[in-house]
């Protein structure tokens, strides 16, 4: 009689493993599609020659939808449409920033290095978590407090406008977002996140923030800011 228990346990573990792989596969599929869509809306925004304020309003709009609307629809197919709306808006907001960098003498180089650098960081960290299967759930509190402190510093620097502080904030954002990639990916593979829509938006935000911060660091260090 007792011999049945290990069999049931093994079956349920296998089922859980299949479920986790499905979440991971769906997350990466949706993430790649939203990144392509963001690239398209960014190109559209550049072609339309949108003013710089587009970035501010797109980010505010995207964040409000991601925080207040997306969680209500995250368990339905409408959530996929909302993820595209958020990522499309954020991509559209990137257009004027990219236009500004593209107009610099080595702007094209800075954009391509930022894009490539973001891809390498994301894929490297994801591969690290998937290969080692380490549990990074202990990072949660540390990352959230760090992120709040960075936001407070960012508010101060809006008015202080100190380039060195701006550089420091961008560097810390990259470190924190790298930590969030480790944390979020480990949550998926350990069954802590079972909703691929919420997992996608979390990972998308980390990629978006790393790209923007890298753009700023390379822009300042390249002597073109």
């Amino acid at each position: 009689m007792n011999q049945n228990y290990p069999t049931i346990g093994r079956k349920s573990r296998t089922r859980a493993g299949i479920e986790i792989n499905k979440v991971l596969r769906n997350t990466y599929l949706l993430l790649s599609m939203t990144l392509l869509f963001s690239g398209f809306t960014a190109a559209l925004s550049m072609a339309m020659n949108m003013p710089p304020m587009t970035y501010l309003f797109s980010v505010i709009g995207g964040m409000v939808i991601a925080m207040f609307v997306l969680p209500r629809f995250a368990h339905s197919t409408a959530g996929i449409g909302i993820v595209f709306l958020v990522t499309g808006l954020l991509g559209f907001g990137l257009g004027p920033i990219l236009s500004m960098y593209a107009s610099l003498p080595n702007g094209g180089n800075i954009i391509m290095l930022s894009l490539g650098g973001t891809g390498v960081i994301f894929m490297g960290l994801s591969a690290y978590v998937l290969a080692t299967r380490k549990d990074f759930s202990f990072l949660g509190g540390f990352l959230m407090v760090g992120f709040l402190l960075v936001l407070v510093a960012a508010v101060a620097n809006i008015f202080l406008a100190i380039p060195a502080m701006s550089l420091m904030i961008s560097a810390v954002v990259i470190m924190l977002m790298s930590g969030f990639i480790l944390h979020d990916t480990s949550r998926i593979i350990h069954g802590g996140e079972t909703n691929y829509i919420l997992a996608t938006i979390g990972l998308y935000m980390t990629i978006f923030n790393i790209f923007i911060s890298l753009l700023q660091i390379l822009g300042i260090m390249g002597g073109d800011d």
Binding site: M53, L56, V59, I60, M63, M67, N106, N109, I110, L113, G117, V120, I121, G124, L125, Y128, T132, K134, D135, F136, S137, F138, L139, G140, G141, F142, M144, V145, F147, L148, L151, V152, A154, V155, I158, F159, A171, I174, M175, S178, G179, L182, L214, I217, L218, M221, G222
Partner: protein, 59 residues
Amino acid sequence: MDWMKIVAAMALIMFIIYLFPRARHMMENSPKGSSSDWMGFVIPILIIVLFIAFLIQLV
């Protein structure tokens, strides 16, 4: 433009207010990491710092 600075600051402050309870919850409920757990975090972060320094050299 000053009004853009004010809008940006207000948006960030709203975001901080929204995130604060979540941060406190995560602080209270996150498991504690061992020194080897933290090393598993610090090493890839150091590699990223070196990688960014390399990217800066390429600009």
